[in-house]
Symmetry: C2
Subunit: 436 residues, 2 copies
């Protein structure tokens, strides 16, 4: 933590978020000075392509494509790192720390994959890493877990952490459109990436959930520890049936204590329409945390986007400038050493489920499926086989929706592999837990 | 900020919140140690009546009714102050600060009435005051304003800050019950105070809003600066009409920038039923803050109650133990020196309104009222005079509901004093703004 009144920072990456950061830094010089008692100077900017025009006025600030100009500048105290991906981010952040710079990063994938080694390195070098912007954009969830909720034993986290998926699911239901149509529109408008795989298959949400889980429960979970399903196979029919039953389908990220084991999942999930999570629409994110003392608190807002993310980055800069961030980071390093809560094996996660099959419209199909479920000790609570005008039915094909009583993920997986082998099954098989 | 590894605290007040604090301190010794790197000791407890039995085991900790035992103990670093009211709280907190103790308080009325002098005294003596628990219980709104939102110019705050009022309004609509019936039930169950005046007349919410407003906009507002109305006159009919139109009635606390002036009000308000605020039910609180960069973020949860409030108090203790709280308080002191945004005169607040009159069921009543509104340049958007089975109608009396186009509080007050003088008016006149 630098103690003099001038704070010199560098910006590594001047894309969408980076230009947002520059704008806020330029417009709030005075209020930042009031809040921190220091003068914050943006001294250097590192970009990939120096010649590229940018929507921001950098004035006399030296712009370079060589991060060594920051690493070798002894006057720079900290770097704002707003570049995605692992390479060269890992190398760059490592070198920045080694050169004695503190780092404020918005790179969630980097923290998911290499957080442990970067945190250890920073701890060793007595440097600080700030990362509020890496999870849920402008929603101060890292701050809540590390400060407001510290008097609690956290019992559960339920969250919508991927705005693109939530936008698609919301729009499909509102406009009665197919997944493909909404995705194409979202890409056209720039809400979804050209390659949206990480958003819609749950990878992005799972990486964020992994970081939140470690901070909240002390347990490191990798992607393969997480029961993970994407939204790509969800059809409008699923959303309509859920809505009729009083639910919304959300890509829900959950970490929950159950019998002193941790259940971690990212799955399209039926959530009651009148709960705060069920009502979170469009690209918004929400995090609902239950603590043993405070009960449930909810934080929601824009989980991504230029200015919300830039706002979180600059809040980290201010927190850093006051010296608070250094204290928080030391506290995080201590907390991460606590004894982790063991993971519940995926097969043992126990929930109620929504199952949907596309089947040949022929005799004995339901009997076959019900037989397999029954032999796997999965109890059916309701069955429906509706035709709706909203679904383009291929001829001779019907959609069968089954709601189960509480059962385990393992039983369902066993049943599913048997059902998949039935000759009457056509296309996707959908399995969504129900959050009550 | 004490630097040694042992932190000695005293608890002043061991009522509902105080015993909650003791319980959390006792159960989370280990995790607090991990988070802070220090050992936190509860060294003394001050109560009004030493002989009274308490639901908590204090072991060897000295219990006294004399706060001087804390003030005179040089080993005590900080006091947790969980006593309500102004006297002796003001004197006690002043003496604690003067004796070199830092103070963690949950006393919102004290901060509203004497915050300025206590903050100045603490600043002068280089002491720290923590007060997360004073506003919205377990919801970390003070932390959000002082850390996460610091990169933003705050544009508006809309909040439900009084759980009792929200419980009453929610229950009236859900159960189709009268104000009096629900209030009696809430008192019987201990949700509402024996004297609920400060809750239902908006005083409690206005005091909290005043503190939030000063932290967010730099402007000190006293109760008489705030357009303030309570919920005592709200009838079930009002809630039902609002619901039919797609609204919920909430005791909404609002601070909003409009043309570089600050509009501050606490009023029963029609809020769209599908907005997060409209859906906040029971005793929950919600704070929705709009920043120029982050957009709208929302925080919700239990705004009061033993363990949520105790959770916020202990989070402050932890924040204090790490040294972060001292930095935050210095930052707050600097921010409070910023140039305040001038207040909008009450008469100039401009909104759409819901008006409801109980009138004699006789000719020309509507014409009289419409004439008065028209002469005051208040434009009517809709009128209804329904009878519903849910309302016990006194004979010869009708209820008239008028929705207006956008107009000012001043025009409505003028019109209201004319309407009050009409011989056809019976009983209460209701005026509620509509939040869109």
């Amino acid at each position: 933590m630098p103690q003099d009144s001038d704070l010199n920072i560098a910006l590594v990456g001047c894309g969408t978020v980076g230009t947002g950061v520059v704008r806020i830094l330029q417009s709030s010089m005075e209020s930042m000075g009031q809040r921190t008692g220091r003068t914050i100077h943006l001294r250097r900017v590192i970009v990939q392509n120096v010649g590229k025009p940018r929507n921001v006025e950098l004035g006399d600030i030296p712009v370079s494509s060589d991060i060594r100009t920051v690493i070798d500048d002894p006057d720079i105290h900290a770097a704002i790192h707003v570049v995605g991906g692992i390479s060269p981010a890992l190398k760059d952040v490592t070198r920045l720390l080694q050169a004695g710079k503190d780092v404020i990063t918005a790179n969630k994938a980097l923290l998911y994959e290499h957080g442990a080694e970067l945190f250890a390195l920073a701890g060793q070098l007595k440097r600080t890493i700030c990362f509020e912007a890496a999870i849920a954009g402008g929603i101060p969830i890292i701050s809540a877990v590390n400060t407001a909720l510290t008097a609690n034993r956290i019992v559960s986290i339920e969250a919508i952490l991927n705005g693109t998926s939530n936008f698609i699911l919301t729009r499909m239901l509102d406009r009665r459109e197919t997944y493909d149509a909404v995705l194409a529109e979202a890409q056209g408008r720039g809400y979804a990436e050209a390659d949206p795989a990480m958003d819609v298959d749950g990878t992005d949400a799972a990486q964020k959930l992994s970081i939140l889980t470690q901070l909240s429960f002390g347990t490191r979970v990798s992607l393969r520890d997480i029961v993970r399903q994407g939204i790509q196979q969800i059809e409008l029919l699923d959303l309509l049936v859920a809505a009729e039953l009083g639910y919304r389908v959300k890509l829900l990220a959950t970490s929950r204590l159950a019998n002193e084991r941790l259940e971690v999942s990212v799955q399209p999930t039926l959530v009651r329409a009148n709960r705060a999570i069920g009502m979170t629409s469009g690209a918004d994110n929400i995090v609902s945390i239950e603590g043993d003392a405070v009960g449930v608190i909810r934080l929601s807002g824009a989980g991504a986007g230029q200015m919300p993310t830039a706002s979180a980055v600059v809040a980290d800069v201010i927190d850093y400038a006051t010296g608070r961030a250094a204290i928080t980071f030391q506290s995080i390093l201590r907390v991460l050493k606590q004894k982790p809560i063991p993971l519940q094996p995926q097969e043992e996660l126990s929930r109620r489920y929504y199952l949907r099959y596309t089947v040949a419209d022929q005799p004995h199909v339901l009997a076959d499926i019900a037989d397999i479920l029954g032999r796997n000790e999965i109890s059916i609570s309701s069955v429906r086989q509706d035709e709706t005008d909203d679904v383009a039915d291929e001829s001779g094909v019907a959609r069968l929706v089954i709601m189960t009583h509480r059962t385990t993920e393992g039983r369902l997986r066993n049943a599913d592999s048997e059902i998949a082998a039935l000759s009457s099954i056509r296309g996707d098989r959908i399995r969504m837990p129900i959050a009550d």
